[in-house]
Symmetry: C2
Subunit: 380 residues, 2 copies
């Protein structure tokens, strides 16, 4: 293999596939990035066996030549070193030449690196995906879906299935759900399944995979193709294939957790409420598990408070725009509430309580697509 490639293109590509490379892998070949050049493109691959990313750099794009190919071929290069080197090379191009026993020379300006490469034949094959369930979704929209759900996955391995986001597709509606059993995030979205009427359930994508995916896909309205199989999901964007394994097991039925009625309903300004909770939690962090108290106090106001015997106490008053139903005193984890509120893009939120000991719902006003459910804490 011998090519000359535009450095910016290479850096971008390497950065993308590095998202899948883990420094903690025990499989030596997976500490590398696989690079393959044929007559029309360079393909970079990174994998930690849970996530695999394939990134294409076309020889030419919009009449700009990215790669000059002298000899096609393939090699696996040490990922961490290679990615650091390319970011620091002095010129705007680099010549890459694979020699005997995969020893690879990188030449750029007055700089010459020689890296011990590995045999690309030893690199594992990417999952073979049969395209049985395919649908499309706008990239920026899907990034939002990830942002609004993935924070709620469990970080504990006691119930591994809860470390993922569950996807269900039914009647053209995609429902994404995450829960760590203390709170739950749900986002629904209409998707384009083409002429087919596809549906599936219990497709559980590891939270980590979605976080990495979110860093790679553009903030653009360009479509993301999603291919679901029994044990893998593949996201296809321009020049990128992102594979993730799915989690084994049955995701719990969460539909019954979400209350359908309410006894107290409050509408308040998202930002004011978020900031009040944020301040109240300042004194609740230590020894109090970040729990704050919330109470309706009449006069179109709610009070958020916290008391730490060694430090002091805090009272926050927030004006409400609407309040209906019973008086209420309830306690909850401030972090859960803040994370829930941060998923809301609306100026106002609606909070629906069904009593001090029952889970309550936070939703944007005038939008049923996002539901954030939080379990209260017993203190009052």
């Amino acid at each position: 293999m011998k090519v000359k490639i535009n450095l910016d293109q290479l850096i971008e590509g390497v950065q993308d596939v590095m998202k899948a490379v883990s420094s903690r892998t025990t499989v030596q070949i997976l500490t590398g990035i696989k690079m393959t050049v044929d007559h029309e493109s360079m393909t970079l691959t990174g994998s930690d066996s849970d996530i695999s990313i394939e990134r294409l750099i076309p020889v030419e794009e919009n009449d700009i030549v990215h790669i000059e190919i002298e000899r096609e071929g393939s090699v696996v290069l040490p990922a961490r070193y290679f990615s650091e080197i390319v970011r620091k090379l002095p010129n705007d191009t680099v010549e890459i030449e694979v020699g005997e026993r995969f020893e690879t020379t990188l030449r750029s300006g007055s700089s010459e690196f020689s890296l011990l490469g590995l045999d690309p034949e030893e690199y594992p094959l990417l999952p073979q995906i049969q395209e049985n369930h395919v649908f499309e979704i706008q990239g920026d929209l899907f990034k939002n879906v990830i942002r609004q759900t993935v924070f709620a996955v469990s970080t504990s391995e006691t119930r591994p299935i809860l470390t993922g986001v569950n996807m269900k597709l039914e009647d053209g509606v995609l429902t994404c759900t995450a829960t760590d059993s203390h709170r739950l995030a749900e986002r629904q979205i209409l998707v384009d399944t083409g002429s087919e009427d596809i549906s599936f359930a219990n497709v559980v994508i590891p939270g980590k995979s979605l976080n990495e995916l979110s860093k790679i896909i553009d903030d653009s309205a360009e479509n993301l193709q999603i291919v679901v199989t029994s044990n893998q999901v593949l996201f296809k964007a321009k020049n990128i294939l992102f594979f993730s394994r799915l989690l084994d097991g049955n995701y719990p039925d969460t539909s019954k957790l979400i209350p359908s009625d309410s006894k107290t309903e409050i509408v308040l300004n998202t930002k004011d409420f978020l900031q009040a909770i944020d301040r109240a939690s300042l004194l609740a962090r230590e020894g109090r598990n970040n729990v704050v108290k919330f109470a309706t106090i009449g006069n179109q106001q709610v009070e958020v408070s916290s008391n730490s015997p060694e430090i002091g106490k805090v009272f926050e008053h927030v004006m409400v725009d609407e309040m209906e139903g019973e008086e209420l005193k309830i306690s909850f984890n401030a972090k859960y509430m803040m994370e829930a509120l941060k998923t809301m893009d609306s100026t106002e939120v609606r909070v629906l309580f069904t009593g001090a000991m029952r889970p309550f719902l936070v939703k944007p006003t005038g939008d049923q697509a996002i539901k954030q459910l939080i379990l209260p804490v017993r203190t009052y």
Copy 2:
């Protein structure tokens, strides 16, 4: 005490004194910030007993009123909580009222905090400074002096005196020196001692103190007053007093370490050289202690190289602008060289060698005020 104060002013002041507050102190009162209000200002104090910072907020400045005083007084507030709270308060002012047993109420907008304060009488007094050695220096200039020396102090406590920067004042020239015994940084600067002819030596300021000082003083040409006593140094800037204890012991005589002649002299572009070393060190980090090889190779070039048997090798060629004297091969720690080069503001640097096993000198061209000395490593 009861006052209403502009929040931005308070946040800035608290941020400054927080630089002296340590979360690891065992003295409970020092986990607090002392706040004192008299008829003309609020004074904030923070200290970890090595560093003490006193910050003044005037009642009025440039016809703008910062503080409205209802009742003078004093209190010590829990530093970490107080600093986090003020940064998040909703209004642009806060009312601070000290009640019984130093319980302090902070009111801002719809937010009300009540913090358990401590008795200010228990707060240690600041060092009493007799102004025997006083001189002045431009703030931005002194920040540069710190930047160009403090990085070279020792981080090991085996010789505590080397964890500080030594200051010597003689004939109106201030010499600042730092060394960890592998490299040495020296910066000289002319200072204004007024009409007096003051001189001192062996004034060793802890590196940590200078790093914190550097964060506080403005990047302006405003003068910094420096007061030196036998065991304390005091830096006075506008509205700020910064005290640091000095290190006990005798700083080693470093003047004989700096070679006065040279056998090989090379002038090269600072940035090109820095980047070449940076790249060469990429393969030198693990198992090789970051050591790179440097050699004159004729043709107005030098070569920087490194070889890591498991990863690969790198050769960097750098054009030199001047080269005089003997051919040379030498090895050194890339980190030391990079840190030395980063202190140089000149486009070109001069490197003076006196043989492969002798310390060598890096200087800006046409400026004798900065000297960076590096000990080579035996490998060739």
